[in-house]
């Protein structure tokens, strides 16, 4: 019997098998036929192994880069790229991450059902990455695997419910309705953009869409190309500063330093490409099931979708927001260089995705000025956050890549700092308090909108009586 149990434990320790089982649950909930169920389960199993393979490709390209960066600048250089970090994290914390992800989705539906925040977080990829980060922070703070899964799922559900809610007032300005929400780990940075744009008092009439933005910038849309170009530039600059002899003697085993830089950047882009393919396969069976169930269980559910849903509303604002956010990232990097801290190299993908959405949100709120200033604020935010986050990620924090969006910082630093001050039980208390707060805020907001509605009714009744 104990032999059987042992095999069972061994099975569940394999995140690939666990994720395949979650997919199997998803497929049976969608009432798929046996052949579809088998296909989907096997694809998910292999998809996770594809992701693991990509993780080692990315790590292999980044390790020599980290060594070189430290030798040249005497500080650590970190690339915030969610795919590049989530691969290695899932190798180490895969089972915990997968279960936090799964139960986090379940609890997200529960919260949407019970509170006024009806946001169903459908961006499975970032939810998976965020679950992985939460797993790391809770395990580093000393939680056992089961404690981490329980509290982590609760924390994941909280942030995936709150983040769309924070952006929603600004999303309404963009989409003109209240039917869809933004579900992305850049949520808090994008909301910050909205607040800054509102404070800037820019005129929404002076829209970015009246400007002629060169079409040649369109290549930043293709994530493989933009990762290759940006990493190529970064590798090349650092290799040039390090000098040809340093590279050939210490890093590249005799290979020419320019060729080495190009090959390493290409390897990084290839690794990200592989991880993306793995993530795509993993989510293909899980997200539709989640969507179907939540639509049935939550009346008036609002799907919270990935950032590009905002891009069609103001394509120029996307470009302007990206550039403004990137400039903020470069400014932040310069400041870190002067301050001799670990250097956060601007992650182009993060600046494009969240900076672009910040531009659209800022533009709807405060026109060109709003788009530029809002996205700039987002850019600073996503430069500072990864730096602070490194301190709470344990060994993962000393890797050469990290999580790059604002929400990772909001939930990560909340949990991480609680852990540093009071250990795992203070984290648990912090999550419990936040959960209670969510319900209390929901009830208070319900009351306030009920009173304002009844006041409006009285007023309109008064008007009609007066006329």
């Amino acid at each position: 019997m104990s032999g059987f149990l042992d095999i069972l434990v061994q099975l569940f320790r394999q995140p690939s098998i666990l994720v395949a089982l979650i997919a199997l649950v998803g497929l049976s909930l969608q009432k798929k036929g046996p052949s579809d169920m088998m296909k989907g389960t096997i694809k998910t199993f292999v998809g996770f192994l594809v992701l693991s393979a990509g993780a080692s490709v990315v790590t292999d390209s980044l390790t020599p880069f980290g060594t070189m960066f430290t030798d040249v600048f005497h500080v650590q250089g970190v690339v915030p790229n969610n795919e590049a970090i989530v691969g290695p994290v899932l190798l180490e914390y895969g089972t915990t991450s997968a279960l936090i992800f799964f139960f986090g989705m379940v609890l997200n539906v529960v919260f949407a059902r019970l509170t006024r925040f009806k946001y169903i977080y459908l961006s499975g990829h970032v939810a998976l990455y965020q679950s992985a980060m939460i797993a790391v922070i809770l395990m580093v703070a000393g939680m056992s695997q089961w404690e981490a899964i329980f509290w982590g799922a609760l924390a994941e559900a909280l942030i995936t419910t709150v983040s769309p809610a924070v952006v929603q007032p600004f999303m309404r300005k963009v989409t003109g309705n209240d039917d869809v929400a933004l579900g992305h780990t850049g949520g808090f940075g994008i909301a910050l953009s909205g607040w800054v744009a509102r404070a800037s008092r820019g005129n929404p009439e002076h829209s970015t869409e009246h400007i002629n933005v060169p079409k040649s910038l369109g290549f930043v849309r293709d994530s493989t190309i933009v990762v290759m170009l940006s990493m190529g530039l970064i590798f090349l600059v650092v290799a040039l500063i390090a000098g040809p002899t340093y590279v050939t003697e210490n890093i590249s085993d005799g290979q020419n330093y320019v060729i080495w830089a190009l090959m390493s950047a290409g390897q990084f882009a290839a690794g990200v490409f592989i991880i993306l393919a793995g993530v795509r396969v993993i989510l293909a069976e899980i997200v539709p099931a989640f969507k179907g169930i939540s639509e049935r269980l939550v009346p008036n559910a609002k799907p919270a979708l990935d950032v590009p849903i905002t891009f069609t509303f103001a394509p120029n604002a996307v470009m302007i927001g990206f550039l403004s956010s990137l400039v903020a990232g470069l400014v932040g990097m310069a400041i870190m260089g002067v301050a001799r801290t670990t250097i956060i190299i601007p992650g182009i993908v993060a600046h494009f995705m969240t900076g672009g959405a910040s531009g659209v949100i800022g533009n709807a709120q405060g026109g060109r000025r709003g788009a530029i200033l809002g996205a700039f604020a987002n850019g600073l935010f996503i430069t500072i956050v990864p730096l602070l986050l490194l301190g709470v990620l344990g060994d993962i924090g000393t890797a050469n890549a990290t999580f790059g969006d604002s929400d990772y910082g909001v939930i990560g630093l909340y949990l991480g700092y609680l852990g540093q001050f009071g250990g795992k039980w203070l984290i648990a208390a912090g999550i419990a308090v936040a959960t209670v707060a969510l319900f209390v805020i929901s009830i208070l907001m319900d009351r306030r909108s009920a009173t304002s509605r009844s006041v409006a009714n009285v007023e309109s009744a008064g008007v009609s009586a007066g006329s």
């Binding site: 459908l122 989409t175 290549f219 490409f273 979708l305 990935d306 849903i309 069609t312």
Partner: protein, 96 residues
């Protein structure tokens, strides 16, 4: 027949469009169409019979003849119209 939704990383928004295309196909009563999603970088025009992208990506798919540009990727009514158009062009039977 195969329809394909695309976005820059092929993870989030193209996946949503894929699910909405599947819904639209049901709405118009078309059958036998496989739907998938992908990123811009890894797909060639031959891999599907019709592609769907948001208008912000119009310039990235200039090599594609078989593509429908969506003014908004969250407008289901527009998507139903475009899916119906695609079915008509490709000779796929539909009942509505």
């Amino acid at each position: 027949m195969k329809f394909m939704a695309m976005c820059s990383s092929g993870l989030g928004s193209s996946f949503m469009v894929q699910m909405n295309i599947e819904k639209a196909l049901k709405t118009i009563g078309a059958e036998g169409v496989e739907v998938d999603h992908a990123d811009l970088g890894s797909v060639s025009p031959a891999e599907a019979d019709m592609f769907f992208v948001g208008r912000d990506l119009e310039n990235s798919v200039s090599a594609f003849n078989n593509v429908k540009i969506l003014n908004s990727i969250i407008d289901q009514d527009e998507l139903v119209d475009k899916v119906r158009e695609a079915c008509d062009e490709l000779g796929i039977d539909h009942s509505a």
